[in-house]
């Protein structure tokens, strides 16, 4: 059988102009190719300053923060400084921050911890149909354990239906969990209004703010939330570390049992290098918020507006106003997201899609389905998520490549006819 040339490995970590090693010759990979990372809602590059801050805590200052000798005390001191940095970014007190392994653990701790602690008071939980799987799967498990879960629907613009949420509250409701920024569309939910409702009914209110912290200003006191999940690797910090904000006075059963770490709220030796990285990432994110709000927003808007102007049959999924500054979710009729993603990847552009796939099923994005977006547009959806590390040249390159790539895919489609 004829053999296809082996594909090249894109293993240059610099994300700059790289000359890819040619194994076969004569293909377009042999040319210098720009690399653009527009998948920052999946994960972000670690900021070099974050990496530098972490380095000493692997080889030199490697102590266990619970030890009373000098190695341990050094680790404890920097860990508490990092806790303050995290707290400062979200307007919390340091003692209200519990370090976890990331967003998923924070979400699990919040939901399972509060639900089990308040089990005697009630067994009803309210969340939304557009949450991250860390919330949805946890709620499904809680339902198996005897809790009743109500899933609030979202409108076509991505905003959840507040009247439905109000109507869902009952005497047995002990917990409401609503995400702050949706990971697929970037839609920002009106948390302050939900917090008022929760407070008036003495219901614990949690938000998964993994996509919000470091991207838009977050102030837990102004928002009125009781618990908030955040993750380091979404804000140019390392993977494997996150935090749960727990408002003073809010009680929950710990998810992990063991030693008295994190004031007995999360057992397990603290991941000191990770925590240092998260702290530094929070400090840098705080300094960079204005940049995201102005420069990154302008990049996103130029990308989106030009795409809508230049590419026929393209549309935006979700609200264009109640939205984070770094995300646009676009649908291209007559294309398939995964195929488009692969084609863009071969041209150095990293994005993601709501098309069927990653989960190993044929079901497309539960978020876009919940918004009532037609199936063909969901299958042709691409999410572009930017960060403060992106540049005008990145947008220029995508605007050069994307229209041609979509034209090629539409030309190949036996069904597509321009409307």
């Amino acid at each position: 059988m004829p053999a296809l040339p082996a594909p090249h490995r894109f293993d240059d970590p610099s994300f700059k102009m790289v000359r890819l090693p040619c194994q076969v010759g004569g293909c377009y990979d042999c040319q210098e190719m720009r690399r653009v990372y527009f998948d920052n809602n999946a994960t972000t590059a670690v900021d070099p300053q974050v990496f530098e801050a972490m380095k000493p805590f692997f080889l030199e200052d490697f102590g266990n923060a619970s030890s009373i000798h000098a190695f341990g005390q050094r680790a404890r001191a920097v860990l508490e400084e990092a806790r303050r940095q995290v707290a400062d970014l979200i307007g919390a007190q340091p003692q209200e921050i519990v370090f976890t392994s990331g967003g998923t653990e924070s979400d699990n701790t919040a939901l399972r911890g509060v639900a089990s602690y308040l089990r005697e008071r009630g067994n009803h939980i309210i969340t939304t149909a557009i949450e991250h799987p860390a919330i949805l799967r946890t709620c499904e498990q809680l339902a198996k354990e005897g809790f009743e879960v109500t899933y609030i629907p979202a409108a076509r613009n991505g905003l959840i239906k507040l009247d439905a949420l109000e109507a869902a509250v009952k005497d047995q409701t002990v917990l409401i969990s609503v995400m702050y920024i949706n990971n697929e569309t970037g839609t920002i939910q009106p948390l302050a209004r939900i917090a008022e409702l929760a407070k008036s009914r003495k219901i614990v209110f949690h938000t998964d703010a993994v996509q919000a912290v470091g991207k838009i200003p977050v102030d837990v006191k102004q928002m009125g939330v009781d618990l908030l999940s955040l993750s380091s690797h979404k804000l140019h910090g390392p993977k494997g570390i996150g935090a749960l904000y727990v408002r003073r006075g809010v009680r929950f059963n710990p998810l992990l049992l063991g030693g008295p770490h994190e004031r007995s709220r999360r057992a397990g030796t603290e991941n000191v290098p990770g925590i240092i990285g998260l702290g530094k990432a929070c400090e840098l994110a705080r300094q960079g918020l204005a940049d995201v709000d102005s420069r990154v927003r302008a990049l996103r808007d130029r990308l989106e507006n030009t795409v809508l102007e230049k590419i026929p049959d393209s549309s935006v999924n979700g609200s264009r106003t109640e939205r984070a500054p770094h995300v646009t979710n676009l649908s291209f009729r007559g294309t398939e997201g995964e195929a488009l993603l692969i084609s863009l990847d071969f041209q150095g552009i990293a994005v993601s899609t709501g098309s069927a796939c990653s989960s190993g099923s044929l079901e497309p994005s539960h978020v876009l389905r919940a918004l009532g977006i037609p199936s063909d547009l969901i299958h042709g959806s691409i999410r572009f998520s930017l960060s403060r590390m992106n540049t005008e040249e990145d947008v220029d390159y995508v605007l050069d490549v994307l229209p041609k790539t979509i034209s090629r895919m539409r030309e190949m489609s036996p069904l597509y006819r321009e409307r």
Partner: protein
Amino acid sequence: MYSPTVRRLVAELPNSGRLPGAVSATVENPICGDVLELYVSIADGCIAESRFQATGCPAAIAAGAAITILIQGQSVEAAQQITVEQLLEFLEQLPPHKRHGAEMAVRALREALKY
């Protein structure tokens, strides 16, 4: 989740497009909505040229492209014998839930060669 060969076929789309005057077949997967159209031009009992069009996931596109490569220059009888397993081998496998892409391509080929 997709093999290097699948990824490369999707990126390069070899032999994509229509082939006017050739025999053709269109197959659909009603579950996921994939559509694959295969064109085959026959001369002297052999496959002179083959092209495909597809709307669908990478599996359907890569399988369509792969089958046009596999049958090029082969006799009609040999092309009719190509199996889903051979196509999957060429593609370095497909994810289990995407196997239908290869099945569609083989079905389209057999339909086209009926004429």
